[in-house]
Amino acid sequence: MTAVTTSDLSPAAPGRTREVPRGLVWMWRDTWTEAMRHLRAVPRNPDLLIFATIQPIMFVLLFNYVFGGAIEVPGYDSYTQFLMPGVFAQTVLFGSAFTGIGVAEDMTKGIIDRLRSLPMYQPAVLVGRTVSDLCRNIFTFVVMFIVGYLVGFRIGGSVGAALGATLLLLFFSYAFSWVQAFIGLSVKSVEAANSAGFIWMFPLTFVSSAFVSTESMPGWLQTFADWNPFTKLTNAARALYSGTDPGADLWYSLAWAIGITMVFSFLASRRFSRTSR
């Protein structure tokens, strides 16, 4: 048949303008399309979902019951009340490592190359990724909060302050997603992204006020711990959850989150536009 219908394979008619839409609406739409690529895949990977649920539960229970009896923190009746904000902070921070692994996976499989050859809003690839990981982290947080409540953690102040603490934690994890995205784009393999993404988070989270008071540490370590942004975050969150005044810690931790987001989204985007498999 030589009918004048276009077949499945014919190119767009010559002269047809192939203009690229620009503007905020399209930027948002491309970002959402990319975020959905990851979100719709979450329920299909039960391993990941279980890991994202079990790990926070395990942390809450381990720290609470293994160390709980042995550790006393001045000014706190129960270790649980002191500990939970630290566990929350550590777990959402660990959750950001998924960003680096996912980005490295996309890159090694050539998916980033494909996306870069499409007429889409390019930053949507990384923004979509970090936003989808934030959604996953919100889920993780809810699970953790429920378990925390079951083992005796209580909100000491207003609900508003507790909500503020939660948003601060999630903002921090979002900021670190950009650090992980940068790492994921910089390494050569998924395995490397995995170890490079996790290794520095251990000193960052343990040499801090998350699990013990920094006063019990040797002098030099205490200095590091006191200035550790993770300490600022934990202190601010702890104060807001207990209903006390977070003071400067709140502003320090906000400044860190904003600064990290800005610096690393810039670095990651720059690397993205130069990346090659």
């Binding site: 499945d8 394979l9 767009a12 839409p21 399309t33 050539g110």
Partner: protein
């Protein structure tokens, strides 16, 4: 107007000069075969033309749009398939195609319709609702190609599209490319397989060490290297060098003989094929060399490639694999 045009493309990675001034031009609705050994600069050229890499020098247009200054408008006109199937294993086949359609800003309904259409065309309708993770290599490759056709591209870039495919899938890919070109799609194809280039390409550009060393149709390239080929197989590897020396004396054309130790053959260009076979057999017999086979044949693209680059096209070593 050419569908693809490049002039003096240069690109270095650190100390390595990957491209030292590549020129090429592709007529609309034709196939250009870009040939070259591993590390010659094929992939780098394709990456520049598909806006993935900025050249250090030179200029290029695709469908009349400048690659360096207007990359997004170029991206709206092209389809790209790289060396490995770039598919998200977590999505279904349908979702993968729909996702690309959405990023080309098709309305939701149209993106779905196009996805279904392509699944059908690529024999993936049944697999369309399954997650790609369970797909075979051939299915992934088909989906990958389908993804590059979602937007009905004017120019299609295929980087070694049949590497790693079984013979049947290869033939299927060739039919597909022929169909696309018949419908009016311009194709730039890189390949290491000369039979593929011979079958599909209207024009061939051979590059090596980042420069174009020959261009033309398959026939004109064969004409350029001149003369028929005499191929002698011997029984003992030790005799190869002696055989080569004797043949060179006897035929004395250009000295372009090639010794293949694995196949135990010597190939040499000859100008006068008249009675050459009995003569050669006698000559080698007198020298006490045990001959297995002697053939005279027309030159192939392999011979062209060998003569131009000094090495066979399908090198096994992955050394210097292109980035």
């Amino acid at each position: 107007m050419y569908a693809v045009e490049a002039e003096g493309l240069k690109k270095s990675f650190g100390e390595t000069e990957a491209l030292r001034g590549v020129d090429l031009a592709v007529e609309p609705a034709t196939v250009l075969g870009l040939l070259g050994p591993n590390g010659a600069g094929k992939t780098t050229t394709v990456r520049i033309l598909t806006t993935l890499l900025k050249p250090d020098g030179g200029r290029a247009t695709v469908d009349g749009v400048d690659v360096i200054h207007d990359p997004r408008r170029v991206r709206a006109r092209i389809g790209v398939t790289g060396q490995y199937a770039a598919v998200d294993e977590r999505l279904t086949g349908f979702e993968s195609l729909e996702h690309v359609g959405r990023l080309f800003h098709l309305p939701a309904k149209e993106a779905k319709k196009r996805a279904a259409e392509l699944l059908e065309r690529f024999d993936l309708t049944d697999a369309g609702s399954r997650v790609v993770k369970g797909y075979s290599g051939g299915m992934r490759r088909r989906l990958d190609i389908a993804m590059s056709l979602v937007s009905r591209p004017t120019v299609l870039f295929l980087d070694e599209p049949t590497t790693g495919l079984d013979p049947r899938s290869r033939l299927g890919m060739w039919d597909l490319i022929e169909e696309l070109v018949a419908e009016g799609t311009t194709t730039l194809l890189t390949t290491q397989y000369l039979d593929e280039a011979e079958r599909l390409a209207d024009d061939i550009v051979v590059i090596d060490h980042g420069t174009v060393i020959a261009k033309g149709t398959a026939d004109s390239l064969k004409g350029q290297i001149g003369g028929d080929r005499l191929e002698v197989s011997v029984a003992r590897v030790d005799d190869l060098d002696r055989t080569a020396a004797l043949l060179q004396d006897r035929c004395a054309v250009t000295g372009a003989e090639h010794v293949d130790r694995d196949a135990r053959t010597v190939t040499i260009a000859v100008s006068d094929t008249n009675k050459i076979v009995p003569g050669v057999v006698r000559l080698l017999d007198d020298a006490d060399i045990e001959v297995v086979d002697v053939v005279v044949r027309r030159p192939t693209l392999d011979d062209v490639f060998l003569q131009l680059t000094g090495r066979p096209a399908e090198a096994d070593d992955d050394e210097g694999a292109e980035r």
